[in-house]
């Protein structure tokens, strides 16, 4: 078979998976979001579920997913579904949350117009809720697609014990080329993937622009007051708001806010009561499925095995400690780069013009694909300098390349969204660069920075998961670190010890969820309370 054709098909298969799963997320999200604005019970369950799953890096689900799909379903279908499910969990939360927020913030007046015309459920969705959610979806598409690419390439080939599972796509094709040392084909694959990703990113940019111009409301009262609205300005403000790809800040406060401004008119007509039960039962079914899978997992483990798992727990925790240190250093480096480069891009129009699309394309290009080649070319040199520390450095490097865009991009957006009045004040007071940064820029971009940091942390885990134990990164060379929870999980997955892998993931999941509640949310609240710069300037 023609190699180039094979490559193109593989890349298209991968891209098709990502895009198909994104579309699936969008469609399911609409119905779930509608269910949650109709039933309080469903809403609470749904939001808690999203928040937990969103704060746990998707890749740690993988061992559990493997059990369910490979053991229960099996065959090529099981392998395909396992990979798809992993990617689905990578792309879905942002989109679901965005749609939920959109549905929750549909202006009451618009709902009244729909009620006034006696719209059916389907008509309400079609004419009101779905169009209203388009800008939010557009805002979440970019990070979702790039996350999707990141995880799909690793989920197309995976090893459990003595079995290697593959599904057709760029990851598996590349794997074959690497095994055969077919350098030309490798280069071609990387090129084709780059082209396809660039096209997707450019289309997404266009779509995002279109979505903002067509689907955002601009009838805010103050702007309309004079009967002449300045659409350009509102459109711009909206594009910044809705472009915020990491609407995590919103994620953490919006739904609570939305509760407050529920309805001006507290009593709503309570017709179609039965619908409430339909939605509530949908919620119960979802919960039951989650429960079923975890319970069936638990009872499949023998008691002697539980003993082993518990006795290994302390060493798992030590590994987690190491991993937190790694995440911390990745974050630190990312933030320093983000603050300088992001600022430079935001204030320098020409750099921005070329820089932002480039960054978007590079960040959508999955690090697991190109990293081995980076490794091959630089390893001898790095080894000669860092010696025994080389592997550690590469793992950190992988974590870094798979994640630093988030904080950079958020910070850039924060600087862009800074009110022009603030710039004038810094000039007026003749502030130097560092003073300006400390006193004005960083505080006023704080909410953006926090949301970027939280995404960065999340993705850094994904990078570590892949990097801490990467068998045969090239030839017989295996990349691994000395101690790390991610390594333990990886190792036990690939040696077929699914119980230990799942146990490790569970511990990790619990700690990350606690961390997110204790730390991330607090920061989000703080950011929301003190640092929303847009509210610091009142327009007359």
């Amino acid at each position: 078979m023609n190699v180039l054709l094979l490559i193109i098909l593989a890349v298209l298969a991968t891209a098709g998976r990502v895009i198909g799963l994104v579309i699936l997320s969008i469609i399911t999200g609409w119905f779930l979001a509608y269910a949650s604005i109709k039933s309080k019970f469903f809403e609470n369950a749904y939001i808690i579920m999203i928040e937990i799953f969103e704060s746990v890096p998707v890749i740690t689900f993988f061992p559990i997913v493997l059990v369910i799909f490979i053991a229960r379903i099996g065959g090529p279908l099981g392998v395909e579904l396992a990979g798809d499910f992993l990617v689905f969990t990578a792309v879905v939360w942002n989109i679901w949350m965005g749609e939920y927020q959109a549905f929750k913030t549909v202006p009451n007046e618009m709902v009244e117009v729909a009620e006034n015309s006696n719209f059916s459920l389907f008509q309400k969705l079609r004419y009101l809720y779905i169009p209203f959610s388009v800008p939010r979806i557009a805002a979440n598409l970019f990070p979702s697609v790039s996350d999707g690419f990141f995880y799909i390439t690793v989920s197309e080939v995976f090893v459990v014990g003595i079995h290697t599972y593959q599904s057709f796509g760029v990851g598996s094709v590349l794997n074959t080329f690497v095994a055969n040392a077919n350098n030309t084909a490798i280069e071609e694959t990387l090129m084709v993937l780059a082209i396809v990703i660039s096209i997707i990113v450019l289309i997404l940019r266009e779509f995002s622009r279109y979505a903002v111009s067509r689907y955002t409301l601009d009838n805010d009262a103050p702007i309309l007051k004079r009967g002449r609205l300045n659409m350009k300005q509102t459109a711009r403000a909206f594009s910044v708001l809705s472009k915020n790809p990491l609407s995590r800040l919103a994620t953490y406060y919006k739904y609570r806010e939305a509760d407050k401004h529920e309805d001006k008119y507290e009593k709503t007509v309570k017709r179609k009561k039965y619908l409430k039960y339909v939605y509530a039962s949908m919620g119960i079914i979802i919960l039951a499925l989650i429960l079923y899978s975890s319970v069936s997992l638990i009872i499949s483990v023998k008691s002697s095995e539980w003993y082993i798992l518990f006795s290994k727990t302390p060493s798992l925790l030590v590994g987690l400690g190491y991993d937190y240190l790694r995440v911390g250093s990745i974050l630190l480096v990312s933030m320093i780069i983000a603050i300088f480069l992001g600022y430079y891009l935001a204030v320098n129009k020409r750099a921005e013009y070329a820089g932002i699309p480039t960054i978007q394309i590079v960040s959508a290009y999955p690090a697991p694909i190109y990293f081995p080649f980076l490794f091959i070319f630089t390893e001898p040199f790095i080894f000669s300098i860092f010696g025994g520390f080389t592997n550690e450095l590469y793992v950190l490097g992988l974590g870094f390349v798979s994640t630093f865009y988030y904080v950079l991009y958020s910070f850039w957006m924060g600087v862009k969204a800074m009110p022009s009045e603030y710039w004038e004040i810094t000039k007026n007071l003749n502030m130097g660069f560092f003073k300006k940064m400390r006193k004005v820029v960083i505080p006023s971009t704080f909410p953006y920075l926090i949301s970027g940091v939280s995404s960065t942390i999340n993705s850094a885990w994904g990078g570590l998961m892949i990097g801490e134990y990467w068998p045969h990164i090239y030839g017989t060379h295996t990349l691994y670190v000395h101690t790390g929870l991610m390594k333990t999980i990886d190792l036990s997955t690939s040696s077929g010890n699914i119980a230990l892998a799942a146990w490790g993931s569970l511990i990790f999941g619990i700690i990350v969820a606690i961390y997110s509640v204790m730390f991330t949310r607090k920061m989000m609240d703080l950011a929301q309370k003190k640092y929303v710069a847009e509210e610091g300037v009142y327009s007359a």
């Binding site: 004079r226 009967g227 002449r228 300045n230 659409m231 350009k232």
Partner: protein, 157 residues
């Protein structure tokens, strides 16, 4: 200088102004009285005063303002007739004078033509948008123009 429709003037403002003038002030008043009565400020009032004056609906001089016969017949007409009255006047007013020269045009083209014709009103950062609003608010409303897929077209012969 050529007469121009102010970027901030709206059709409803014209009706409002003429109605207030003819009904409340019996046809004639001072601008400051008008401003007080309408509870609007200068920025809201002057665009329509200039525009109405350019269109010939009011006569405004040294702080006084009065409604003209055209203004009276406008306010007494129904919607169809009102559109016709405006349509007939627009030919002599920018940006519609330039539109008449072009017949079929996009926003950039008429902007360019306005510059050539020495009209600076829309020559500012928000000018493109202002121009589009004016073309729609006055031109399409009065059926002087209609909007096609690729820009505007003069409908009026």
């Amino acid at each position: 200088m050529t007469d121009v429709i102010d970027p901030n003037a709206r059709i409803a403002d014209l009706v409002g102004l003429l109605h207030v003038l003819s009904n409340i002030f019996e046809g004639k008043t001072n601008l400051f009285e008008l401003e007080k009565e309408m509870e609007v400020d200068l920025d809201d009032l002057m665009p329509i005063v200039y525009t109405a004056s350019n269109l010939g609906f009011v006569h405004s001089e040294s702080g006084d303002i009065s409604i003209t016969n055209l203004g009276i017949s406008y306010i007494k007409s129904g919607i169809v007739q009102r559109k016709k009255i405006i349509r007939d006047i627009l030919i002599n007013i920018e940006p519609f004078k330039s539109a008449m020269e072009l017949k079929i045009f996009e926003l950039d083209e008429i902007m360019e033509r306005l510059m050539e014709n020495g009209v600076q009103t829309f020559n500012n950062p928000g000018g493109n948008h202002d121009l589009e609003v004016i073309l729609i608010e006055w031109g399409i409303y009065s059926k002087f123009l209609y909007k096609s897929d690729n820009g505007f077209e003069v409908k009026f012969n």
